[in-house]
């Protein structure tokens, strides 16, 4: 245990320093706070929302499509459901799906990148050409094509997004792996006859993973946008799931007369993605030695 703390100490120190740099920029600090609140809202959505039954297909037709009021802060939809409750619960749907999609991409991307980087030769060539091919599809378009054929649904959308997203992580990890492979401890492991796979998973991946994780956390905003786009086209989440993109798509029928139905879920997407991007931008600036402030 003590040993672990010892090895982690420099990392904690640098993390602390980064946090300090982050907090110096007010915009990034606000973004961080909003994101923490959003995550809390997503976790405790059940307790927080005023009309928990409205996240499913409850219907109160008598109060349908009402403008924002004291009882319904964001108005009601075509079934009389409280839009505020659905938007807050939507944070859970979006964050969980985005985490799932990014996690799945990492699961595909990291091992492939590590194998490409440490084996080199034709294995590297084949894997990298494969990433080239996947990266030549505009990301949303590949996802659209896959979901359209596999059938719409939130899980298929998540799968399709990760299948079009992984090459970025493969490239990033491969670059790291190539330099780590030359380090003494990897060569030492090779000399004592450790198997190739064990070296990759035990020595190379743990030492390459941090920039990939940083990149992945910055990508969450983009993934949320992509997912909302798919749902908007009717390919992602299905009724009655309170997904933001889907809500905007449903609200279009009543737009622009019942504007609140479309506008509020969009504001939720914007704020979430904006905070992820602001934070990502700040992290990039902190980590980039060229622009790092003294």
């Amino acid at each position: 245990m003590n040993n672990l703390i010892q090895t982690l100490r420099p990392r904690i120190e640098s993390f602390r320093e980064s946090l300090y740099l982050l907090a110096r920029n007010k915009l990034s600090l606000i973004a961080l706070i909003v994101l923490v609140l959003l995550v809390l809202a997503a976790i405790f959505a059940n307790v927080l929302i005023p009309y928990p039954q409205d996240i499913a297909d409850a219907s109160h037709i008598e109060i349908k499509l009402q403008p924002p009021s004291a009882e319904h802060w964001m108005g009601t939809d075509e079934l009389g459901r409280d839009i505020f409750s659905r938007v807050v619960y939507g944070a859970r749907v979006s964050l969980r799906s985005a985490l799932g999609a990014v996690g799945l991409s990492l699961l595909i991307g990291i091992p492939l990148g590590a194998i490409a980087g440490s084996f080199g030769g034709w294995v590297d060539n084949v894997i990298m050409r494969l990433t080239d091919i996947f990266l030549s599809f505009p990301p949303l378009l590949l996802a659209i094509a896959m979901v359209a054929i596999m059938g719409s649904g939130l899980n298929n959308a998540i799968l399709a997004i990760s299948l079009s997203w992984w090459p970025w992580y493969t490239r990033l990890l491969r670059g790291q792996a190539i330099s780590v492979k030359e380090r003494k401890f990897v060569q030492a492991a090779e000399t004592i006859g450790t198997s190739r796979l064990k070296i990759i998973f035990k020595h190379i991946i743990p030492n390459c993973i941090s920039p990939v994780i940083v990149q992945a956390s910055m990508d969450i905003g983009g993934v949320i946008l992509t997912l909302a786009g798919l749902s908007f086209l009717g390919l992602g989440a299905q009724l009655p799931t309170p997904e933001w993109g889907l809500m905007i798509s449903m609200g279009r029928t009543y737009f622009p007369d019942k504007w609140w139905y479309c506008i509020f879920p969009g504001v939720a997407i914007f704020i979430t993605v904006l905070c992820f991007n602001l934070l990502g931008d700040a992290i990039r600036e902190i980590l980039d030695p060229k622009t790092r402030k003294k």
């Binding site: 050409r129 996947f134 599809f137 990301p139 905003g221 786009g229 969009g266 931008d281």
Partner: protein, 336 residues
């Protein structure tokens, strides 16, 4: 240099082949029942069998793949399951409208994005840099389809200034026929001197154009800023300064020139993203482009149409990538 370009083109061809193979896998190997969609839900088993033969689904997969490649070489993307029309022909009809939108959006991105980026780099960490940084990050964080609706709400519903959608209003086309020369409506009206139509078409393109240009404007501004900042931190700039060259001259004459290569690359690459953004926006503005085409193809699961658009999008992307790489390679500082 020439050798590099040749090699790069060759590798692009390999990538195109890979893209074609993946689309083939998506279309044929993932489970779907194209023959049912072709012949209709109530088709008899005999009709289904006939559809399978007509679509070539009765042949073994490797043979289907070769046939698919052969058809593509002849520019044949198959027939739409919905309209039974050749997809290539339909795409050709829809491409000009999308192209017009994307090109105009890019003009905006360059004209607004680059000055914005230069300005923020110049005034780094001042108020305006923060505003511009916030704007550029904000622009890439907005769901485009929602921006489209929002603009409609303001400019159509509340202000009543601009039309809600379409490429040209029906009333305008009653008195004058719509010219067709290049397929780009604005350009055609300009060439033939039909200014009433031009005015009408221009009003229609404003909202969709602003919607899809937000993303490239933000991206170009951000990229210009960071490329410029990186160069401004280099030794030769410091050297120039210490010789007493004015900051303005250093920025415009030495730094900007060296950062434009990076910016041009980013412009080319972001065009691919903008193309996909267009797909989400067109349907909202009833813009008769590929976006509206794929949106209706998606709702009816018309997979040859979807695959056709995907192939088209990927090809555009590959060509843009190729151009970006050639731009980088033509920078004398890059040794190949």
């Amino acid at each position: 240099m020439l050798k590099y370009i040749f090699k790069r083109i060759l590798s692009s061809i390999v990538v195109v082949l890979g893209v074609v193979t993946i689309t083939f896998f998506i279309a044929r190997v993932l489970p779907s029942n194209p023959e049912v969609k072709w012949a209709g839900q109530r088709a008899t088993p005999e009709q289904l069998e006939a559809a399978r033969i007509e679509l070539g689904l009765d042949k073994p997969l490797p043979q289907q793949y070769l046939l698919y490649l052969g058809d593509l070489l002849h520019g044949d993307l198959g027939k739409s399951l919905r309209t039974h029309q050749p997809v290539a022909l339909e795409l050709k009809r829809y491409i000009p409208a999308t192209l017009e939108l994307v090109l105009l959006a890019f003009l905006l991105a360059v004209v607004i994005g680059i000055p914005l980026g230069i300005y923020s780099a110049k005034k780094k960490d001042r108020m305006l840099d923060h505003v511009s940084r916030f704007f550029s990050i904000g622009a890439v964080s907005l769901p485009t389809f929602w921006v489209a609706l929002f603009l409609q709400l303001i400019f159509y519903k509340i202000l009543g200034l601009l039309p809600i959608g379409g490429q040209i209003s029906v009333e305008a086309t009653i008195f004058q026929s719509v010219p067709k020369i290049t397929g780009l409506l604005l350009l055609d009206c300009l060439i033939t001197g039909k200014f009433a139509l031009l005015h009408d078409a221009f009003l229609h393109i404003i909202l969709p154009c602003i919607t899809i240009s937000l993303y490239p404007i933000g991206l170009v501004a951000r990229m210009t800023r960071s490329a410029l900042l990186e160069i401004l931190g280099e030794d030769y700039i410091t050297a120039g300064r210490s010789y007493g060259l004015r900051d303005g001259k250093m920025l415009w004459k030495y730094a900007l020139k060296n950062s434009l290569g990076t910016t041009a690359t980013d412009v080319a690459l972001s065009m691919g993203y903008t193309l996909t953004d267009t797909f989400l926006v067109e349907a909202i503005f009833a813009w008769p482009g590929i976006g509206s085409y794929i949106a209706s193809a998606v709702t009816s699961l018309d997979y040859p149409a979807i695959i056709g658009v995907t192939l088209f999008g990927a090809s555009c992307y590959i060509i843009l990538n190729l151009l970006a790489d050639i731009i980088i390679a033509s920078d004398p500082r890059v040794r190949l």
